[in-house]
Amino acid sequence: MAKTHVTCTINGEETEFLCDSNQTVLDVLRDDLGLTGSKEGCGSGDCGACSITVDGRLTCSCLMLGPEAEGKSIGTIEGVATGDHLHPVQSQFLKHAALQCGFCTPGLIVATKALLEKHPNPTDEEARYWLAGNLCRCTGYDKILAAVHAAPAEMRGESA
């Protein structure tokens, strides 16, 4: 079967790739484009480790076929920092030690960034519901929530 030629934007950069029609966007990112920050935890949309944004909307890259990316603007964990400058969500995850093994962390950071773009100052309930699709088996979520709630102040420039 001929491969599909796809043109899209990934982290602001125009990107072209060829893919099989049963490859997911996650497969393309990791195996063909070398963007291995997005993780495959379950491959069935349950764990959120492969979270990306598509035209600004949070989704699981394992639940989207490669050809569907045509013309879309995709955001991955690799596009969250600006050069060497960490995004406030990333720096607060570090500061609060909101990870242990780190496998869920890219997905959680992408999901948290999307949360804070929609709810700049989320309640604990809003944050917990929003992140319910990001599973972490290490932390018990307490430190993750602490980082999530600390990030808005840094984003507003109120703390370093």
Partner: protein, 289 residues
């Protein structure tokens, strides 16, 4: 290696042609939150995948004279952001937003939930109770049928091989009409309904129910329209006697299976309890209008 043909038509006719002329099995792709998982697990191996999302009208919400037109593949997150639709039909819109996580909401749609044809699809009893219709495109043009006529058994729909759902029409709610949807799951989020219940009622100025539709999910091979439950409500206020009749009618309609989520006895009992609770929400919403 399994490698299906992927097509992303931009017109209805092109999509119908692709479905009609597909060699081997074809599947329509909306959000893919069921289809892609089934392809990856090997449960489904369609030879052709027809992605309908590039067809104008399959994503988006418009309020027109005959009701709310919701594109078949409109994701749950977009439905939840439509303040007008959410205010008009809180039950329908809350139901679709119960499906999966934020990530799944970015993709999951009414049409996918309905055509996956699981008895437990959360958005289905809500759509049915609200009197929503599915607009089905095929080679002879478009036809419109009540949502409850789409699923025929678990995993199967009444659609022909060359048909797909283009959009849904949810009627305009007027006067003291309101809906509600509740489901029972053993946890707070991210689970599949053990029982789901949609109720839509119209009240007069004295709080007496003049019209009702009651729908149950996950207690039979397909979504149920429970006329006896609606009859228990019509002509009555929401008092204990009415609730008891509603509960009994809901339980009597159940024909569930026992599985890891619940036994036949449990599902039947919960259907009655959920019918009471859902009706109470629908009555209070209608009374407030």
């Amino acid at each position: 290696m399994y490698s299906p043909t992927y097509a992303a038509p931009t017109t209805v006719d092109e999509a119908v042609g692709l479905l009609a002329n597909a060699s081997g099995s074809a599947r329509v792709l909306s959000g893919g939150t069921d289809l892609i998982i089934q392809m990856r697990s090997g449960r489904l191996r369609p030879q052709t995948i027809v992605d309908i999302k590039n067809i104008a009208g399959t994503i988006g919400i418009r309020e027109e004279a005959d009701g709310w037109h919701v594109g078949a593949a409109t994701p749950g997150a977009e439905i939840g952001e439509n303040a007008g639709l959410c205010a008009a039909w809180p039950g329908v819109t809350e139901a679709v937003q119960l499906i999966g996580s934020t990530q799944v909401q970015g993709r999951a749609s009414f049409a996918g939930n309905l055509c996956n044809a699981s008895p437990a699809g959360d958005s289905v009893p809500g759509l049915v109770a609200a009197g929503a219709k599915a607009v089905i495109a095929g080679k002879n043009g478009k036809r419109t049928i009540p949502v409850e006529q789409v699923p025929v058994s678990p995993g199967r729909t009444s659609l022909a091989a060359d048909e797909f759902i283009y959009e849904f029409i949810i009627p305009k709610s007027s006067g003291k009409t309101a809906d509600a949807y509740l489901r029972f799951i053993p946890r707070t989020e991210m689970d599949i309904a053990v029982v789901g219940c949609g109720v839509c009622v119209t009240l007069d100025n004295n709080g007496v129910c003049t019209a009702a539709k009651v729908s149950l999910g996950a207690v039979a091979p397909t979504v149920l329209v429970v006329d006896a439950a609606a009859k228990a409500l019509i002509g009555n206020k929401l008092d204990d006697a009415t609730l008891a009749k509603l509960d009994a009618a809901a339980q009597a309609a159940c024909n569930p299976i026992s599985d890891k989520r619940g036994t036949i006895e449990f599902r039947t009992k919960v259907a009655g309890v959920l019918a009471r609770r859902t009706a109470a929400i629908a009555f209070s919403r209608a009374a407030a209008r």
